[in-house]
Amino acid sequence: MGDYILKVKNLNFFYGSKQVLFNINMNMASNRITALIGPSGCGKTTFLRCFNRMHDLYKGNRYEGEILYKEKDILKMNDNIELRSKIGMVFQSPTPFPMSIFDNVAYGLKLKGIKNRTEVKDRVEAALQGAALWQEVKDRLSAPAGGLSGGQQQRLVIARALAVEPDILLFDEPTSALDPIATAKIEELMIELKKITTIIVVTHNMQQAARVSDYTAFFYLGELIETDKTEDFFTRPKNKQTEDYIRGKFG
């Protein structure tokens, strides 16, 4: 406890010549949930996508600085499969693959070369259990994933990420496409998942940040304005801009 699984040091990020993140310094505690909030366009998604190097997919993107994951610089790693199995990501709208429920969850395992049938089966079940979906799908594992409800699909995607036993999960507005009941389930699940992972979640919903997170960070125009324990953050913000934002004065 108390140790930091991620340490961001002097991080700058550029889309081509356009700088979007400015000198970010921030640590993330293990087995805790950190929420990233801030007005639209402030760079939350951009920041989140640095941790699994998603920006590498597109030409012209450039990182500066360091992101230490267990003291190793993510920005210098060159095995994306390894990195992305350790740091999983869940997107805003559910992204089930066009295959069965089982194959969706097993996808990352196959990618890592795990072929042993019983092992795959066990880990798929464990992941679905972990994502609180097992009870609902155990009788139709071979049905196409597209037939699940939105909330179920989102938990399936979480299970898919969990199957490869990640240390960190990145969530980008994971509930913004879901109804309140499905949202509550995902939030509950995130809190449960703290036992086995560290979570960073981008959210537009300040109540959500307050409900689920241990730490909250406020971004504005590509800069990290303030980060603190969630309780203190919302009750005793130190910065004037943070205070204005959480009082709903802008954004």
Binding site: N52, M54, L57, K59, N80, I81, E82, L83, R84, S85, G88, M89, F91, Q92, S93, T95, F97, P98, M99, Y107, G108, L111, P144, V157, R160, A161, V164
Partner: protein
């Protein structure tokens, strides 16, 4: 009030006009089809498929060579056309999606789809038949493939672009290499569309005559040599329909019926497969 009545009137006018034109379209289609069925189906008999051509003027005989030739030529065209069209479309929609060259190919393919097929026939005549010194089934297949590729390429491009980008990103986020993302996720997601595209492009070339006229030409005998002229159904129909003999006309009708049936059946089968896939 007055305005509203006017709008309603215009609305009704447009509705009846569009219904009328729709019926007009269907009417001609049904007219052609029924004519084909009446004249074609009655002329069909087993010897059409089992017997070979007989010299002009004699009765009897069939079009066996043309059926087999058609099958061979179209098959080779499809074998050439599908991979080129599929991979080309994949390049445009995936690997080269932001590159100028991909855009150029895409525009070029668009133009290609509107080139009259007889021009493709002459082109292949110039680049293949002339240098080789003789007509050949292979040249015919290449001509059909040239027609098929841009159709296939454009459908592939459009179908792949319909797959949401977030789905690819979700796969990348698991560390999936791009080729696996394409084969295991994008193609699978676009399967329905790709299948329709393939069927449509096969149907597009199956009934072509013009590109075969100066390429595979014709052959009075059954031939399996793709390096030689080969009879095809469409060219044979063309020749028989133009000929002076009554039994030739009958056979042309019968063969037209068969080829139309083939195109219809491929389309319907394709649709059924699609439906079945959706249900699963």
């Amino acid at each position: 009030m007055n305005n509203r009545k006017k709008r309603e009137l215009i609305g009704k006018l447009f509705l009846s006009l569009s219904v009328f034109t729709a019926f007009l379209g269907i009417f001609w289609l049904l007219f052609i089809l029924s004519d084909l069925i009446i004249k074609g189906a009655s002329a069909i008999n087993w010897s059409l498929f089992s017997k070979n051509f007989v010299p002009p003027g004699l009765s009897g005989g069939g079009m066996k060579a043309a059926f087999i030739g058609q099958l061979i030529i179209v098959s080779i065209a499809v074998i050439i056309g599908i991979p080129f069209g599929l991979l080309g479309g994949t390049f445009i929609a995936e690997y080269g999606r932001n590159s100028k060259i991909a855009k150029l190919i895409s525009i070029f393919a668009d133009l290609m789809t509107s080139i009259p097929s007889i021009v493709v026939g002459t082109f292949v005549y110039a680049v293949m038949v002339k240098p080789m010194g003789h007509f050949s089934a292979l040249a015919g297949a290449v001509a059909l493939a040239v027609i098929m590729i841009p159709v296939m390429l454009k459908t592939t491009e459009n179908m792949l672009k319909l797959v949401p980008w977030s789905l690819r990103e979700a796969a990348f986020a698991l560390g999936t290499p791009y080729y696996k993302v394409i084969f295991q996720i994008v193609y699978k997601n676009a399967m329905t569309g790709l299948l329709t595209g393939t069927i449509l492009s096969v149907a597009r070339i199956a009934g072509e005559t013009a590109p075969l006229l100066f390429t595979s030409l014709n052959n009075s005998f059954l031939s399996f040599n793709i390096n030689q002229p080969m009879a095809s159904l469409t060219v044979t129909i063309y020749r028989y329909a133009m000929g002076p003999y009554d039994n030739w006309h009958q056979m042309a009708w019968a063969a037209s019926f068969v080829i139309t049936l083939f195109v219809l059946l491929t389309t319907i089968t394709g649709r059924l497969i699609i439906k079945w896939r959706y249900k699963k």
